[in-house]
């Protein structure tokens, strides 16, 4: 059902080469008289077309790892290699946590942002943006401004913006964490549907074990400070998946439970650390 493996994955014959290779990644932040290690000894290989989930307690450096993959932060040591197959495509596009769409642009302009920045021809922008607005159910809201939209709608815009940019890999930083349960389920379902069309390599961060099992092919569970790899778990469920149907299966519950039991120690440790800092 599930396999645990060490960071050094063996790559067999005929297996497609890894899309993302991370080796011994470490990131420290210096404060006045302290060095804070956000992540340490992170090694990963993520296959082309994989939906890779990273789950861990808050403050485990998940976002730091994603920002390094995005090129928004530099590691203190270690290496990140992302195989770029088509040099005309952008390396990655990120779906940020929270409200990241520009309030001064319409839904359409937000979704077109990446293509505009890369100076793509207008007919291509019209076609691609039109397609993803349709896919995310936003066509009716194309000329609306973000303040007129609900939280779920805004996150749909953010997803459309990332997909329309047609990147080599998609990075998602807890995109649904601010949404209510119903909206989250709906957006997970929509994301899976859009992803099925493109099969892009995705690295998706979440603190929700449910979300990790629902969406991912493989899940990395991270430890609390410093963030290290605790376990690597394969998700055996076939695709295309239907969120609610999947969640009704006993195997789903078993997998969630088994990941939760690994994560529980980490969450408790993170809380103890927080309390230790608080009592200083």
């Amino acid at each position: 059902m599930q396999s645990l493996s060490t960071p050094e994955l063996s790559v067999g014959e005929g297996v497609p080469p890894a899309k993302i290779v991370v080796r011994e990644l470490r990131k420290e932040f210096r404060t006045r008289n302290d060095t804070f290690v956000a992540i340490d000894h992170i090694s990963l290989e993520i296959d082309q077309g994989a939906f890779f989930m990273i789950v861990g307690p808050s403050g485990c450096g998940k976002t730091t790892l994603l920002r390094i993959l995005a090129g928004l932060d530099t590691p203190t040591s270690g290496e990140v290699r992302i195989v770029q197959e088509d040099p005309s495509k952008p390396g990655n596009s990120m779906v940020f946590q929270g409200d990241s769409i520009f309030p001064w642009m319409t839904v359409w302009d937000n979704a077109a942002y990446g293509l505009r920045m890369r100076n793509r021809p207008q007919h291509e922008i019209d076609e691609v943006v039109g397609h993803y607005l349709d896919r995310t159910g936003l066509t009716r809201f194309a000329s609306a401004y973000p303040h007129q939209l609900s939280g779920g709608m805004k996150q749909r815009v953010s997803i459309a913006r990332a997909f329309a940019n047609d990147p080599e890999i998609l990075l998602m930083d807890e995109p649904f964490s601010a949404l209510d349960e119903q909206n989250r389920t709906l957006l997970q379902e929509e994301l899976l549907r859009i992803w099925d069309e493109t099969k892009k390599t995705v690295v998706f961060i979440t603190h929700s074990v449910d979300e990790a099992v629902t969406l991912g092919d493989r899940i990395m569970v991270m430890t609390a400070q410093p963030g290290r790899e605790k376990a690597l778990i394969d998700v055996p469920f076939e695709r295309p998946r239907h969120v609610l149907e999947l969640r009704a299966r006993p195997a789903y519950g078993e997998l969630v439970y088994s990941i939760w039991s690994r994560l529980r120690d980490e969450v408790q440790q993170a809380r103890l650390q927080d309390e230790a800092i608080g009592s200083k």
Partner: protein, 270 residues
């Protein structure tokens, strides 16, 4: 009967809403009118000195006379032109410099002390220097307005860029926005609400400074008209000048509010 009942109810509702807004409007209009009436009566009864506070009726007569002779319009037009050019010459560079200062830390570090040191100098105190440099012609008046508009726009533009959520800059970086595109698609629009506040403050400052500048070494403009009226002791003309400046200030506020609605359509509160 069955039909008329709901119609009747709707009628009552409509009348109630109408009377509420109308009542506010009537109060708003009548309070200044009442004050003018009290003023008029006080002067006529000799409670208030008519040499300093001429009755509103005489100010009105002077207003009409100044309009008919074309004097008022000529002076107002002269002031408006100076305000326009001054706002443009002071506002546009302030906007550009402010956005660049807000975006680039080293430039901000270099220029902030200069701004902080020169900003508190009263603009009226540098009028003699401005007259020395730009002479008694149009240039000195326009320069005064430009200086008045420059600072509020600059300071608000810098603050406007600095309050932009860092995440938007990350988005720009992640989606490959160039330096120029970062300025034009993130820094400028993100700072625009505060920049508009700066423009409003700046135009108000410009109106103050143009009145002062025109009192010294000018042969036209509302400031000149007021100063000249003092010299020939035409107190009514002074009041007309003050009235027109007040009306202009109010009109600019309405105009800039409208402009704001038009260029910042994404703001939720309008």
């Amino acid at each position: 009967m069955k039909i008329s009942a709901p119609v009747g109810r709707k009628d009552v509702k409509a009348r109630a809403g109408f009377s509420n807004t109308m009542r506010d409007r009537i109060i708003g209009l009548s309070s200044p009118l009442l004050l003018l009436l009290l003023w008029e009566i006080a002067v006529r009864l000799g409670i208030v000195d008519a040499r300093f506070f001429p009755p509103p009726s005489r100010i009105l007569v002077t207003l009409v006379a100044l309009i008919e002779s074309g004097v008022l319009w000529a002076n107002t037009w002269a002031s408006l032109q100076r305000l326009f050019w001054g706002s443009l010459i002071g506002g546009v560079p302030a906007l550009l410099l402010g956005v660049v200062m807000g975006t680039y830390r080293p430039i901000r570090a270099a220029l902030n002390p200069l701004v902080a040191a020169t900003y508190p100098v009263p603009k009226s105190a540098i009028l003699p220097l401005i007259l020395l440099i730009f002479g008694l012609g149009e240039a000195s008046k326009i320069a005064m307005v430009a200086i008045g508009v420059f600072y509020p726009v600059l300071i608000n533009a810098v603050a406007g860029v600095l309050q932009i959520n860092r995440m938007y800059l990350d988005v720009g970086k992640n989606f490959g926005a160039s330096r120029w595109r970062t300025l034009s698609t993130i820094a400028l629009p993100g700072a625009l609400p505060l920049i508009m506040t700066g423009v409003k403050l700046g135009v108000g400052m410009g109106l103050i400074l143009i009145s002062i500048a025109e009192m010294i070494g000018a042969k036209s403009g509302l400031g000149y008209m007021i100063w000249n009226a003092w010299e020939i002791l035409s107190v009514e003309t002074m009041y007309v000048g003050l009235l027109v400046i007040a009306v202009l200030g109010y009109a600019f506020t309405l105009l800039l509010d409208e402009l704001e609605r038009w260029i910042i359509p994404w703001k939720a509160d309008h």
